[in-house]
Each structure stands twice: as structure tokens, then as C-alpha cells.
């Protein structure tokens, strides 16, 4: 998939008003007076008719969108990218050991949660092996991140499979926006305990580039009490856990303008990391060392067209390796993507074609000695996917628009599958009311089809429910796996009554049908909720953001029995405050509270509060020092419990940071 921002597609399709590149001519009201002849005071008295809205990015979108902008990123106490997502009402974030996070949107947290589409500059970064995201690989230096666009709810019709209950797009900064040299370092207690960023960027005329080198050392967590961990008493609560990590990366971005109409962007990079963890095997806790390496390159090309739209072409390739004691996974991904946006009669249209090639080799490292070891059969597998989408937006009246779209996808794993959406948006410059109905799919992953256990003792074979047995190899993955489906109804209202106050309300229901195993519906999940967010500025130098989400999620078993356990916490609340104490000093607070999550026979996840503080001093432009206190309340708690891994908690951390920028 080519890199494009959510904003691009959302502007094009959903914004009330004209589309990209089209000058939004002010609708001239009858003007008897020559405004140019009025003086300053007279002009101040002229009442204006507000322009029908040129695309206002997120504001007019008929979807639940949240943008973490550059200023939010700069003001974050935590330098870990997944922690930034905690401010989005509707997202659930759980750091479950010293170096790993689970993130979900309107759904249960899970290491293998596979229903969210995550991208960096439009490049898919979830692994097609199981559909999940290795967030530890997305710990980009925040100095390089321009913004993070988050859509809650299904966006499959526009974005393709996996955008079932949310999309996260991380947009990196251009060389022009970061021109100069940056040296930044931070160190302290808690996680991470050290970070170093070196960046050189040049923006000149038609071209700009940036090269960033990043090193981060992640501290170990501490073991949790037996009740909220999987170690079964084999570890002592409060002691240092065995889950440190280090990650190194070099990222490059180059942008060119070719003439007035065309432009191109190249991003490329390499990543290399070592993470420790402990896992549970046969009731015993054993250490596991994970090595991850990846390299990627992506080229995008854009050309403006006469009808105010554009052509885009993108190509991306990623090669990734994840090695640990359990598996050795090597994957190759190639994405090609073409799209056209523009006007067709009364419609704003966008259509696109995509092709994705995925191959993976999943080997069992100790095949000679292991018993009932995890793997895939065959070892080499993958699929090719072709897709196409078209969306049209019809402006029925200045204040009402209808958007309809569909995406078709066909691959080696699924036949022709379609994902449609219908959206209505009404509003003016200050208010937007929208509603949407969408069907989106999570297509089967390689493990859904090829999951196998090697060297299973004969006596144990029946217990595995094998669909195919060859020797001691038992394949449990189902070649007839079908997509999971969500049908979602959503409605929202957002308003900006004044420059100092704005809010956003969303209500939704997601109905999942999971049909992965043996063609049978395994279960249905139903999640209903409301999400609210408000931003206001009580004083010129003080901005506050608050958020709240109320989620009710239940699993409905195939038998019809309703599982009484909730899938996800009922209440979550967030608060952000940014205060400029003086021109040189600023003080920021990020806080969140999540209600407890009962887990049946297992102990519940406790209700938890988190407060992060940041004090920044900028004695002169280009130089700054920060002091951050993470988890100031020092609650060492489980945020997420993964059945076969040992989770840890963090507790309070104090970080000192320093940044120096020069030409």
C-alpha cells in the first residue's frame, strides 16, 4: 500500500465542502459595499457568512477519528510511542512486560489481537502471520513523528482487511520540518532507562531528506503478585523481572517536488532489537531471548490532475525476522498500490487497486529435541492478495453529504469478499453530525490455516484436535477458515462552539462473527459503547483535554449462551493538561483511569490509575531539558495478562531528558 495519510482519504471523501486541491471559492454574498474601502474598525463590524467548509481534515469526517498532533507528542511525558495511544478514548493500551505492549480499539486487549490495522506512513506494519502488531518494533523516536491518526471502528471498505475495529497511522516528519541537526538523550529509572537520538535533516528547495539513528534501552519490570501474573508463585513479587531489551534503528526519509504537480517520497530503514522475556511451558517458567531484525523501503509518487484530484502510486517492501527459542519466523512483504482521486460529475470519487505479496518461513528451532512444538505446516507459506475499492461522495446540499463505498478483495485464502459502507454527514463549520453502517472483515491469517504442532507424542495426538496428521506432525490450522466479520453501526456528533472549546461524541455497536475453526461459528462478540472527548483552554497558556469511554463487550457462545464476563473494561477516562508556566517553562500532566476487568475464575485485572508528569525547560531556542515522572502514583499493576508469558509491572520512573538542535 502506498503511503497516504488518513487525512488524505478522509478529506477527500468525508469532508463537507470541496475536495483536495480545489480552491474553495467563498460563496460571495451580495456585496453592495466595496470591502476594500472600509477601514479596520468597520471591517471588524462586518458580519460574515461562514464559508462552506473547505476540508477541515478530521473535523468533518463521518468517522470516529482522533489525531495525536505534534504538540501532543512533544508534551508527552513518556517517550514510548504506544503510551501516547493511552490518551485516545476508545483505545486500550496495556504494557505487559518490560518491552511489549498490547493495543486494541473497542476490543479486548490481546497479544494476538488481530483486528486493528496499523501503518507507518501508510505502510502496513501488522504481521500477516497472525494479524497482530509487534508494538515493540514501533517504538519510533518521537522526535520523528509528525502525528498519529487514529480511527476507531471499522474502516475495511477504505483500508482493506484487518481494519476491523480500528486504524492507527503513524506519520513521520519530513526533512524540511526537521531541518538541522538534533542530538537528544534521556536516561533515568523505570522503563525505558536510556534513549539516544541523532538526526541530520536538510531541506533545500525541491528536495529534503532526514536520517535518524535511534537507540533505546528498556529497563526490566518487576514481578507481579501471583494473583495477577502467570508465574504461579515461581517468581517473587517486587523482584526485578527478566525482561529487559534494547532496540536500534536507522530511518531515512527523502521528499522531492518534481515541478509544480508531482512529488515523491522515499522512506527506508533498518531495525534490530533484542528483547528478553519469560514464558510458561509445561508449568515451568523459562527465559526466552527474542531477536528481531527488519528492513523496509517504500516509495510513493503523487501527481495532481486538472480536475483537482490526483494520481498516487506506491510500492513498499519489508523483510522481517523474529527469532526466539520457540520459533524462527522470516517474512517478506511486497505491496503495490495505485489510486486516483478526483471529480466525476456531481461525485467526488476515489478508487484504487492494490496487490500484496506475502511469504513466510516459520521454522521450529529445536526440532530434534522439542515435544509438541509450535510451528506452521508447511514451513513455507503465504498468499497473494488483489484488491480494489471505490468510494463516492455526493454533496446533496451544502450541509449534507452521503458517502458510499465498497472494497473487494480476493486472495489465495479467501474468494471474492466485499466490504461495503454507507455514511451520512451533516453539519456546518462548527458542528458535524454523522452516522455510518459498515461491514468489515478480518481475513484468515497464515496461522489460522497452517498452525501445526511438531513431534506430538502419539498418545497426545487426539487431544490436539488435528485436522491433518503426517507422522508426528499435527496440523490444527483450518484450510477452510473463513473471514471474521464485523457489522458496525456508528453515530457521532462533534462541535467547536469556540476557538477555546470543542468536543466529540460517538456511540457505536460492533457485532462480530468469528468463524475461524472448522467452518463453525465459534462465537459472536458484541461491543457497544460511547466515547467522548473534549478539549478546552481555560487560559491562554493552558490547554486541557479530557476523554471518557464506556464499553460493554460480551461474547455470545455458539450455543446461544451469553458469556457473562465482559471482554473489556467498562470505564476508561483520560485527562491531559498542558500549561506554559513562562516562555521558558512548561508543565504537562497525562492521567488515565481504567475500571477493573473481571476474568471469571482468574483474578480480575485491578482498576488502575496512571499519572505521568513532565516539566520542560527551554532556556533558548534549540536547547531543552525535561524531567518526567512516569506512573507517579507508583501502582505496580498488571495491565494485561498473556496466558503463556510472564507479565511484569513497572512502577514509578524518573527520566531526565536533554535535546540540542543546531543548524
Amino acid at each position: 500500500m502506498s503511503a497516504r495519510t488518513l487525512a488524505f482519504r478522509i478529506c477527500l471523501l468525508l469532508a463537507a465542502g470541496s475536495s483536495i486541491g480545489i480552491a474553495c471559492a467563498a460563496q460571495s454574498a451580495e456585496q453592495d459595499v466595496d470591502l476594500l474601502s472600509l477601514d479596520l474598525e468597520q471591517l471588524l463590524d462586518v458580519e460574515v457568512e461562514l464559508a462552506s467548509r473547505a476540508p477541515q481534515r478530521a473535523f468533518d469526517a463521518a468517522t470516529a477519528i482522533y489525531v495525536i498532533d505534534r504538540s501532543d507528542i512533544e508534551r508527552s511525558a513518556s517517550r514510548q510511542l504506544p503510551d501516547l495511544l493511552r490518551q485516545v478514548p476508545g483505545l486500550h493500551v496495556g504494557r505487559w512486560d518490560g518491552n511489549k505492549w498490547a493495543v486494541s480499539s473497542r476490543n479486548a486487549l490481546g497479544r494476538f489481537a488481530s483486528t486493528m490495522l496499523v501503518m507507518v506512513d501508510g505502510r502496513h506494519v501488522y504481521t500477516p502471520l497472525y494479524g497482530g502488531v509487534r508494538w515493540e518494533q514501533l517504538n519510533l523516536p518521537l522526535d520523528d513523528v509528525e502525528r498519529i491518526e487514529v480511527v476507531r471502528g471499522p474502516a475495511g471498505p477504505l483500508w482493506g482487511a484487518n481494519a476491523v475495529d480500528g486504524v492507527v497511522n503513524i506519520v513521520t516528519r519530513t526533512g524540511a520540518a526537521t531541518a538541522g541537526t538534533l542530538v537528544a538523550a534521556s536516561a533515568g529509572s523505570g522503563s525505558p532507562n536510556g534513549e539516544l537520538v541523532l538526526r541530520r535533516a536538510v531541506g533545500a528547495g525541491d528536495a529534503s531528506y532526514r536520517v535518524t539513528a535511534h537507540y533505546v534501552a528498556l529497563d526490566e519490570g518487576v514481578y507481579l503478585p501471583t494473583a495477577t501474573s502467570t508465574h504461579r508463585g515461581a517468581r517473587i513479587a517486587g523482584e526485578t523481572a527478566n525482561d529487559a531489551g534494547t532496540a536500534r534503528r536507522v530511518d531515512l526519509r527523502a521528499d522531492w517536488a518534481a515541478g509544480e504537480r508531482a512529488s515523491a517520497t522515499l522512506v527506508a530503514g533498518v531495525f534490530d532489537a533484542d528483547f528478553d522475556e519469560e514464558r510458561l511451558t509445561g508449568g515451568a517458567v523459562v527465559p526466552n531471548a527474542i531477536a528481531q531484525r527488519s528492513a523496509y523501503a517504500q516509495l510513493q509518487w503523487r501527481r495532481a490532475t486538472d480536475d483537482g484530484g490526483e494520481w498516487r502510486f506506491g510500492a513498499a517492501a519489508t523483510r522481517g525476522v523474529v527469532e526466539d527459542d520457540i520459533a524462527d519466523d522470516r517474512e517478506t512483504l511486497v505491496d503495490l498500490d495505485l489510486q486516483r482521486a478526483g471529480a466525476a460529475g456531481p461525485l467526488q470519487l476515489i478508487w484504487g487497486l492494490g496487490f500484496r505479496h506475502y511469504r513466510s518461513t516459520l521454522r521450529v528451532p529445536d526440532l530434534e529435541t522439542c515435544r509438541a512444538c509450535f510451528g506452521a505446516h508447511p514451513e513455507r507459506g503465504g498468499n497473494d492478495t488483489a484488491s480494489g475499492f471505490v468510494h463516492g461522495r455526493w454533496q446533496a446540499s451544502p450541509s449534507l453529504a452521503v458517502v458510499a463505498g465498497v472494497r473487494l478483495e480476493s486472495s489465495d485464502y479467501v474468494d471474492f469478499e466485499w466490504q461495503p459502507t454507507l455514511r451520512i454527514v451533516a453539519g456546518d463549520r462548527q458542528r458535524t453530525l454523522w452516522a455510518a453502517a459498515t461491514r468489515a472483515l478480518r481475513t484468515p491469517t497464515r496461522l489460522d490455516r497452517d498452525l501445526a504442532f511438531y513431534r506430538v507424542p502419539d498418545a497426545a495426538l487426539p487431544a490436539f484436535g488435528c485436522l491433518e496428521i503426517s507422522g508426528t506432525t499435527c496440523r490444527v490450522g483450518d484450510r477452510d477458515s473463513e473471514p471474521w466479520e464485523v457489522v458496525a453501526l456508528e453515530a457521532g456528533f462533534r462541535a467547536q462552539p469556540s476557538a477555546r472549546f470543542g468536543y466529540d461524541l460517538v456511540a457505536f455497536e460492533h457485532d462480530f462473527r468469528n468463524t475461524i475453526q472448522r467452518g463453525a461459528t465459534v462465537g459472536r462478540d458484541r461491543v457497544q459503547g460511547v466515547e467522548a472527548e473534549a478539549r478546552f483552554a481555560p487560559a491562554e497558556r493552558w490547554q486541557i483535554g479530557i476523554g471518557y469511554a464506556n464499553h460493554r463487550g460480551r461474547n455470545l457462545r455458539a450455543s446461544g449462551a451469553i458469556e457473562t464476563l465482559p471482554l473489556l473494561p467498562r470505564h476508561s477516562a483520560m485527562l491531559r493538561s498542558s500549561l506554559a508556566l513562562s516562555p521558558a517553562w512548561s508543565f504537562d500532566v497525562q492521567a488515565s483511569h481504567i475500571s477493573s476487568l473481571p476474568r471469571g475464575a482468574a483474578p480480575p485485572l485491578q482498576a488502575q490509575a496512571r499519572v505521568d508528569l513532565r516539566l520542560a525547560w527551554r532556556p533558548r531556542p534549540g536547547l531543552s531539558a525535561t524531567l518526567a515522572v512516569l506512573d507517579a502514583l507508583d501502582e505496580v499493576q498488571a495491565e494485561y495478562i498473556e496466558a503463556l508469558k510472564i507479565n511484569s509491572g513497572a512502577g514509578r520512573g524518573v527520566q531526565f531528558g536533554f535535546e540540542w538542535r543546531f543548524e
Partner: protein
């Protein structure tokens, strides 16, 4: 299905009702001018109430370059300004597509969908002799010179006096007087 739909409708109705309670009502309809016609007139007024250093012009008859960066919301309104003069300099309206073409602009209006965020554009334009103007909320606080805001359907301004002065420009006392707010911002970000 029926149950689900009603549940969602109920949620939506509740949310919408709550929203309506807080939302501002649409004001009474009076004869008006279009927003961007008024803003264009303001841009013209800025050439009367801000003084540019003569060094900002290569020659006495060199044009005063009024540049729109990003999407142009003015339509034909700016054409009415063109041909007027700033001192001896004829006002010329330009719509550069590339950042290097912004060099030498005297007044830059940053519209939506500019290739860079407004704050970054301001940093990029950080050189003497440029007045930056935008309708982007928070623009003045982010280091921009002049930000248009709408109050009760009237155009108001927030002025970052420091950004204006650091640009080597002199705002008249009158301009500062009519501003809704004068910030003396340090400028956001790096």
C-alpha cells in the same frame, strides 16, 4: 437485529441530545459579506497597518508579494487587491506550490492542506520581512504572526506581537488595539 438497532439509536439519540444542549444555536440571519471576502479585505488592511523594511524589496518598484500557501480559500477575492500598492510596490498575488517559491514573499497566508503544518511553515519562513497569516486555530500561539478567528460571526485577530517584530516588521499601535488578543508567544516547538 431490531434490538441492536434500537440500542444504538438510543445511544445515538442520547449523545445527540446532550450535544444539542451544549452546541451554540445558529445566529439570526443578517445581510452579510462572505467570510473570505472580509478576510481578503483584512489582508489588504495589513499592508496599511504593518510596515515592512525597505530592505525586504530588491528595488523601489519591486512587487509586494502576497502569497497563498496551501489551498486558496479566497476564490476571486484576492484579485481585487491585486494592482493596489504598498507604497511604491504594486501588490502581486501568488500561489506558490513549492516551498522554495515562498522565499521573498512579504505576506504569506497559510491555507489548509499546506504541505507543511502551519507551525513548521512558520519555522521554515523564519526570516525577516515575512508576515504570516492563517485561520488555523492556535496559529499565533504556534509562532504565527496573525491568526484570524471568528467571534459571533465577525472576523477577529489574534496577534503574536513578538513574531511580527522578530520578522523585522512594525505593527501599528492601531492594529494591536483592534486585536482580540495579543500574545507574546515564544513560538511552539523547535
Amino acid at each position: 437485529m431490531a434490538v441492536r438497532v434500537t440500542a444504538v439509536l438510543r445511544l445515538a439519540a442520547r449523545a445527540a441530545f446532550a450535544a444539542m444542549l451544549v452546541a451554540t444555536p445558529a445566529g439570526a440571519q443578517l445581510p452579510r459579506a462572505s467570510e473570505y471576502a472580509v478576510k481578503a479585505a483584512f489582508l489588504f488592511q495589513f499592508t496599511r497597518f504593518v510596515r515592512w523594511p525597505e530592505a525586504a524589496f530588491p528595488a523601489p518598484d519591486a512587487p509586494f508579494r502576497l502569497c497563498v500557501w496551501g489551498a486558496d480559500p479566497f476564490g476571486s477575492e484576492l484579485a481585487r487587491i491585486e494592482g493596489n500598492r504598498y507604497g511604491t510596490h504594486p501588490i502581486q498575488v501568488e500561489r506558490p506550490r513549492r516551498s522554495d517559491a515562498l522565499r521573498g514573499c512579504h505576506l504569506v497566508y497559510i491555507g489548509e492542506e499546506a504541505p507543511l503544518a502551519p507551525g513548521d511553515t512558520v519555522r521554515m519562513l523564519d526570516r525577516p520581512g515575512v508576515l504570516t497569516v492563517s485561520s488555523e486555530p492556535g496559529f499565533a500561539e504556534a509562532g504565527g504572526a496573525l491568526e484570524f478567528v471568528i467571534r459571533e460571526n465577525r472576523v477577529r485577530m489574534v496577534i503574536n506581537a513578538r513574531a511580527v517584530r522578530e520578522g523585522g516588521l512594525s505593527p501599528s499601535a492601531k492594529l494591536l488595539e483592534v486585536a482580540e488578543r495579543v500574545v507574546d508567544g515564544v513560538g511552539g516547538g523547535p
